[in-house]
Symmetry: C2
Subunit: 613 residues, 2 copies
Amino acid sequence: MVFCKPRLFRNLFLSVMINAMENNDLLANKRHTLAHLLAAAVLELYPDTKNTIGPAIDNGFYYDFEFSSPLSENDLVKIEAKMREILPSWSQFKHREVADKEAKVVYTNNPYKLELIEEISAKGEPITLYTVGGPAEHQSGVSGARFTDLCRGGHSEAPNTDIDPAGFKLDRLAGAYWRGDSNNSMLTRIYGLAFDNQEELEDYIAKREEAEKRDHKKLGKELGLFIFSDLVGSGLPLWTVKGTLMRELLNDYVWELRQAKGFNRVTIPHITKKDLYETSGHWAKFADELFRINTREGHEFAMKPMNCPHHTQIFDAEQRSYRDMPQRYSETTMVYRDEQSGELSGLSRVRSITQDDAHVFCRENQIENEMNAIWDIIDTFYKTFGFELKVRFSRHDPATFDKYLGTPEIWQKAEEKLKSVITDRYDDKFIDGLGEAAMYGPKIDFMAKDALGRTLQVATIQLDFNMPERFKLTCINEKGEKEPIVMIHCAIMGSIERFMSTLIEHYAGAFPTWLSPVQVAIVPVAEAHDEYAKNVARQLKEAGIRIEFLESGDSLGKRIRTMKTSKVPYFIVIGDKEKDSGNITIENRTGEKEELSTEQLIGKLQTEIKNRS
Amino acid sequence: MVFCKPRLFRNLFLSVMINAMENNDLLANKRHTLAHLLAAAVLELYPDTKNTIGPAIDNGFYYDFEFSSPLSENDLVKIEAKMREILPSWSQFKHREVADKEAKVVYTNNPYKLELIEEISAKGEPITLYTVGGPAEHQSGVSGARFTDLCRGGHSEAPNTDIDPAGFKLDRLAGAYWRGDSNNSMLTRIYGLAFDNQEELEDYIAKREEAEKRDHKKLGKELGLFIFSDLVGSGLPLWTVKGTLMRELLNDYVWELRQAKGFNRVTIPHITKKDLYETSGHWAKFADELFRINTREGHEFAMKPMNCPHHTQIFDAEQRSYRDMPQRYSETTMVYRDEQSGELSGLSRVRSITQDDAHVFCRENQIENEMNAIWDIIDTFYKTFGFELKVRFSRHDPATFDKYLGTPEIWQKAEEKLKSVITDRYDDKFIDGLGEAAMYGPKIDFMAKDALGRTLQVATIQLDFNMPERFKLTCINEKGEKEPIVMIHCAIMGSIERFMSTLIEHYAGAFPTWLSPVQVAIVPVAEAHDEYAKNVARQLKEAGIRIEFLESGDSLGKRIRTMKTSKVPYFIVIGDKEKDSGNITIENRTGEKEELSTEQLIGKLQTEIKNRS
């Protein structure tokens, strides 16, 4: 089974921040401090506002307020200016533990804070008030009263020197229910962006703008790759002719690489009796996400959320001998997960997930070879797209052992084996993924860095001693004995839906020639050139090149614009000159032109396609 | 949508009889008469037996009895002899209508007949007794009392001259519940085979024996093409490496033919909200067979039992222009139907059905061209397998109009259009399929005759004005107006599962070279020849030929036997002679041998594969 749910990366954009988050907590402290500063500025400008809570988040901070009159986006400029005005006076946070009575006096008019105080007090936890700034410390007469907030701590040591005033910016307003509950009153949330300095802030804003332009939901629609239908339902993409073509090209490529490593395809149905998942252990551990079916005869079935249990049945259909090992089963097939509507997002999180899944059934002494063969495929595949790969050793968390199948001994054995494969090939540069293992075994997860510098989880290789044990999978060894075997789960793209969303954003829709649904657009200048242009089109088509012909009905300008927004790698305008010379001028997306004979053109394109460049 | 449920052809074997059934009712009358004759013989031999009912069936007749002591298969010889003894005395059936009282007197000791009499009487229908034979008519002293049975009629006019005594044969015994209800008592059913003459009877028996040898369930297992798993459930085949390879080869072939006719692939999920099927009309008309899913958020989903409603959503994702027409969507995908366990049979009737489905969305004036293009594909495809095709015009039955969608006017228009396509291409030799239309429109069904002379329903082309209307599908025509469009549903193989079962039985598992999972088996005589043989194997593999290498561990004889049962098209034994000469002797399945160089061998095989022969 291949998990393709990006737990850490709920949306692609958030993942920009992964590296920053890994690097330090100091930035988080600055962001938290800025939340206080935002509250201080708001209270100074709008004294009858009720402040509630305000944490640090991935790209900055927010704070939720109850304003006495509505705020507009324009007010953010004023608030931001006030924050910068106050900041120099914030030299140090001081805190003191207080009795709940005293705390309640401070917040007499703030029911939100009173509710929090009650709660902390009920749990018997200490109530702490953090105070900073104000004229008592700074005699220079700067703006900013002393500001106190109910808080657990985690601030910059010296805000006025630690925080770069050019490194933050108020971002936007949003509505938010008090404590996220729609039964509570609606508050106003102010979001701020915050980084160590102006350069990093501007870099982030630029990347976010670029990411918005590249958003696969927007581009997917513009390029006509996939659709959602209200009648079919959310999280269930339908793939158009162009989108399907791309999926097939990607899948063919994976299959070509796999075939060279001795993989074979198998085919399974999308449903099963619950018995299969009771044996595999998924019925209990995957229960919420299973689409369940009750048949007319009263049997309980489920749609498969993964393929491994089905594949064990094919392996187990006959007693295998050591001569038959390894068995390498590959299958690109859809799995289904009953995701909640609120969690669905474009192609990044769907209910129908196409996995390019594979399972190797092998002997223990074949593990290294098989894993390295798969790793070779992954290297070749991702290099094609210019992705740089990092490796994460995803192991189990002994603290939550009940999430996993099997015994500690099996886990230790599997993790040692896997770690030695990683170390042999990759040295010790791997990321340690404590608690990132699959239910049945540890994984090597591959993290790709895309054109925007975002880190995305992509391919995976997983080692599994548990599933073979549960299904009692064996081969007859050289001594004629039944020998337990192991399973390696592996996916190259993972989920084709998620991989497509990654590619769309990585290339901003301008796919390489081999992957472009249309490779060459042919535009006759006027009706007089239609016939000649059609002849060129026919020749390209016969040479296996995917062309689009823009007939001379619409104006030339309009047709050229259409073509440019469709991000076709090459286009050819055919007019008198081309007709007379017999040569063709081909223009690429960056405007570079080249004059070629039709034969040369075909040769050039075929080479590009063959090399997947 | 392509219906792939063989309504008339629940199992392949039954379909042998289709032609006979179509030709005449006289045979059915003979068979019904023989059921009476069987009862007469049984009652004469076992006077305390209670006879119940006995109809004509596809290949003969049966009669259900309650015997006072168990019968064995050996007793059938005696009963059959008695039937032949009585037959000459049966010159004519006479019948009379009687009051229920009188009928009850005849069957005082037979609770089964009494139950039937009660029922007929309760419905107010006439009770008729049919009498035949016996000494009263024949003074010659032959065996056979006058025999009377409660019956509705439908007998041979003159049994003793119409029925060839060598044309029938008692077949087997079976248990059968009275009226098919497991709460009732278990009766003994005697089956008989019956045809017009001895030759036809023997022909049928020979074909049945051959069909049993070719049974795809038996051969599929022997050849390792597919399996069923108790954990996954019945009706849900899992395809092994070899089976999947064959499926892919077949599917690639269909796709190659379709691509040449301008088809494109699309991709849809296997589930949908019920809304889609409420619009299409399937929710009501297909309800029983839908696998239904209730999601964790309480929504109602269904697994798709067909693909057309999903495909309409891709067409409808943008407003099409006349320039975009036709749109030809093709997709090989699994559909799911909640079949009852008792109806499942090998690959002929499954719950997970892979359809090589396609839908053409076109304008009315494009119907002929599109249909003929599909018909071309069907002709080419089936010719490859040596299938002779017959055409059935499957139209709606006005008597059961509530089974269909749409108005009588739409049906008339669609059927006229379809009939004219058939007549233009096929003359008037088509079979008239009254009541065989799909829910939404009439069909051209193609019937293939296999190696055993059995007629099987295979490909289909269907014309549909209804679905486009329900989904309001249009294109903008030359005048800038919205023009309603039509859909053509078509499948070449229909269900890959059913088509595979057909092919396995058609070829008795000895597939042509292009389709064989293993094309050449290579057998080194002894260990000394392994290396040389492996070198040959490598060359063939590199040339794209699928080989199996039978290492010299087992005895030569055993390896040759293994290979012959696996029905590999060619095998090569490599010993001293081959090693010395550098030539190879290749042997086919019929034992023909040919000596060739490795290059010649590769050339020969590649040509055969390329030509799909």
